[in-house]
Subunit: 353 residues, 4 copies
């Protein structure tokens, strides 16, 4: 069976290059083209490489950037993976959907649209149905987004506890990696030996997205979940991996051991469907007293194709009716390209591709 | 008037060296001796210097370390500033108090003793009375401690809001600097490009100390304040300055502007007594959207002698009945040596020295 | 006596802000205006502050940026300190000189001009005479440059050994700080946990400038010194302070002790003239086995006004006819704003202002 | 054919854990036991894990540390890979050799012994003959060392140019990674935002080892190569990967292009024997203007089993008769465990195992 042809948009950026990495040898998809801005036209991937820790195949490194050409993409590809900056993503992604392309986007532009889902396949697979209500669906075009990178890390644990115990109150403080700001991103004079307690728009995104993700899609509209959500976001001098501290109050008060079991055993459709990029365990709980750490745990996830796709939780503590824990997720893998790739894999399994 | 002679204990460590820095040219105190472990005996301060950012006078740099000698200290000094590690501090500080020495300690050993105060002069000056109830007081000896470094940063803001609005709920997540772990402390292989979500005993200390500090001392006993306190502590690759995110619920719901005024105008006895190390403003509120930052704001505080003694707050936001903000304090100045020095200045003003 | 009025060009940059810092309370100079690009017009210094480690006076922090206005500068100022980027500096500085302004520049644009000196007052004070041969001198206008920041650190030690022993061969490898690249400069994704073995044009500058600096100015022309100079330049994740390893071969072969004496006792006209920013010791030699270090030694220099103006040398070793050592200098103080300020102080002492 | 059983000594350290990583699934060797100090006895590898960037198999992570037991090793293993600290390595390795064990050591203790080679298989494979002259050889026991990590990075390029053009003068300055100091190694308070221009004994090792490596072994003795070698060593805040700047003078003066060809095409016995850990290219030359970088190039090397085994050179420049370049090598792979593993593979190919 021939593979589905996909375009990668924003291929000179951190997210775009993670898409390329994860698409190497993918069983469903093959790259039709790498698209970037005019000034990178004709450059090879190896000439604009920014991601530190992985090995591309030589033939991948020699792939060339092309200027964005919606007609070419509409003609040659079925899917677009978008790592575009938000200001470009809004119109470009809409145009592609109108051209009959299924767009799986990491950009924030369409996340809060009334007929676009913020999809995390383990958490809210039924939200994918919203694509059928998009105006462009008749032509085969639609838009699916992944969540903001720091929202992604907390969504599976919060869904797991909500399902088991109800959810009442969440306070999160983030320790976010530099790669989340893209390239060139944060100047080194601000980052080295420092913490910056501000990431533009991030707290608002977290507070808005999580209740949409944990809500329902019924009768062509999203109903938001109801619990208190408070976010404090900060940037730390780490390359990859968003660490987040969580304080949670639930309706029930399970023991710590029970909570660990609930998180560790959390599974969803990607696991039952055995999607290629689905980790065996969406949430890995570490019981050492000093984990998870970005340097050691960001790439957690198995099998090989799901590296960087597990959320790692640790230091689960109970204080009367409150629970405290830390969670870590790879912000450009599970929280970026990997999230959208898993969305596309679910769409294929659901016959939407 | 001759100056009060003081011994500095643990003078090869990060806190001990900050004591020495802040005592240079001090109007009340003069150094009688620098004490450290046997293996540093006879070494000059300049040979064991660890603090990065300040200039000692040459005569100070040439001061020599001595082996701890309780009898010599008891004979020659009236005050001991203790930067000892906790395991040594317990017995040594008790022995010094028995020898008639007023001990101002940065160590945790005696903080939770039933007749020892955790003193922050702006916040709980009346707690200093507890020294009169210590068994050694008749000989002139007693122990006063400062708070743990991460507790120190939140105590003045919490006291300010408690006084004005009542206090119900506090959740804090810390971004703590490497100097808080002492020297050699955290291995660079763990610290560089990483966050470690664990600091042994720190969360317990924060949760226990803050309610003692914000409580009362009456009838020879401490009554603890009653509000919910939840702490998540993590270490970040920053040299000096603990940043902390706070979520607070109070009994009242002031506007953000009102809250800023309350924090900015907070003052206490050190300010009215014009103690030498007292900052004009115990809490400085910055209104830029990306402050406070450890690299820019740790040394805040004026006059010159009070550098590093102000807590800096910022990013104050309101979310219904909850308030979110970041606070920053210098962990080895206000949160370490400077805290104990200010305690001693208060003791002198109260005729306890 | 009234002070000389000076304009600071490029006041939003790292060098410009060091000029402002060093000019606070200066005995010769007072700031007439801070100039920057249009987009900073009207902003206060405190709103564009980038330098981490110093305290401005409040009145300085409230100074406002103005758009560059050559006529205003020519009318109101006698001196311009230029922290402009090189592409702007060429024409702007020439125009100012034509307008009768004495320009002391940190930019590279005019350094290799045939009638412009690269002045390091301890090393080549006679080169200042070149201003009299500049076409604009009749109107009072002229240009004097300081050396590239990494050249500055090696010039005094090389001058000292050249004077004492002759100089034959120099190989230098640099460990350069991030502030040398300006702001925003190096992206944090490139800098954190990494070394970048390339700084555009830096090696060529070092090799060209050092032989001009160590040469002579006679009969209206510069005669370059003759020795082999080889440079390898790299950027390390340090905020301030360029460390450089040196291998030197001289005509003579002094003992290490003799060489230390020669370096430590090196002095020049700034010291004999007691210029305000002149360090008592232009070269400080440390004899510990692990110094100089950027974090500990960049700000070396006394008196107070000369902090950051000494070069610190250490680890001096002899290997037959070769000598190995490390030198450190503060790249935006001695190697930047401080260098040009000292040049202006020499000019005043020579009645050129 | 059954695999050769090997003991890993020092398995809690950075080098020991790289041995374990590289031995997973190795075609020649299988691990007989992991040995460490008493205090780690019984701990699993996953409980003492220090290496950041790789994935062990679960069965490997569950392997347990044992207390060093020479008799057990002598009985059950044929080979010992030693990642011991130097002070322990001297006697332990000698005892093992006497017990009939072939010891491949990363420690410095025996490197300069008169009958022990510092083996780099591409460079000096004939030195392996020295084992036959060791007193213990009759029992099957012998010692082979790899070079110091910073020596390893320059040896292949220097061998390549020596072979092609003769070698006269080498000056090297190092930018060494933190993992080279082991664990806990360098305190983070010294490392973050700093460079330390001193590594105890390192310069002496580099200067002594390189001439032994590039010399000959004839008539039971090592004859040292004759060229000038000067080293300046410094530690930078990088986790893995030693960068080194080189200045070289050779007898001939090839063009830069010719030199690139010489380095790129350099091969040795590991390549012709197709040893499992031999990289296809011992030296990879990158022609971009800002490479090699530790963050991007330390893990260079193919096939998969040879990752981290190539030296990467770049920025090759010519200045009359001098050549300047940067080289990078992974200090705990090629410069550590991988070096000794390749030595053992060569020994097997030569029927010495």
């Amino acid at each position: 069976m021939s593979k589905i042809r996909v375009a990668v948009l924003g291929a000179t950026g951190m997210i775009g290059q993670r898409f390329v990495q994860m698409l190497e040898g993918h069983p469903y998809f093959e790259i039709e083209g790498l698209y970037a801005s005019d000034r990178s036209d004709g450059k090879k991937l190896k000439d604009v490489l920014k991601v530190r820790d992985f090995e591309y195949k030589n033939e991948t490194l020699d792939m060339k950037m092309e200027t964005m050409d919606l007609k070419k993409i509409a003609k040659n590809a079925r899917v677009a993976f978008s790592g575009l900056p938000s200001d470009l993503a809004g119109k470009t992604e809409s145009d592609l959907a109108e051209g009959g392309i299924a767009v799986f986007s990491n950009a924030g532009a369409h996340r809060m649209d009334k007929d676009v889902s913020i999809l995390i396949p383990e958490v809210n697979p039924s939200h994918l149905d919203s694509v059928k209500d998009q105006a462009t669906y008749g032509n085969g075009g639609y838009i699916v987004t992944n969540a903001n990178c720091s929202t992604t890390g907390i969504a599976p644990p919060l869904a797991a506890v909500r399902d088991a115990y109800g959810l009442d109150f969440v306070s999160v403080s983030t320790y976010q990696a530099l790669s989340g700001a893209g390239y060139p991103g944060v100047p080194s004079l601000d980052a080295v030996g420092n913490v910056i307690p501000f990431i533009g728009g991030e707290e608002e995104k977290m507070e808005a997205e999580i209740v949409k993700i944990l809500g329902t899609y019924e009768d062509r509209s999203f109903n938001y979940a109801k619990f208190r959500m408070l976010a404090n976001c900060a940037r730390v001098p780490v390359i990859d991996g968003h660490l987040e501290s969580l304080v949670i109050k639930m309706d029930d008060t399970p023991s710590v051991e029970e909570l660990i079991r609930t998180l560790s055993s959390y599974k969803g459709e990607p696991q039952s469907l055995k999607l290629p990029s689905a980790p065996v365990q969406p949430i890995i709980v570490r019981t050492e007293n000093n984990r998870p750490q970005p340097a050691l745990d960001s790439m957690a996830g198995s099998p090989e194709r799901a590296r960087g796709m597990s959320v790692v939780a640790g230091r689960i503590r109970k204080s009367d009716e409150y629970y405290k824990l830390f969670v870590l997720s790879h912000n450009t893998m599970r929280g970026g390209a990997g999230g959208s790739l898993l969305n596309a894999e679910l769409a294929k399994a659901k016959k939407l591709l």
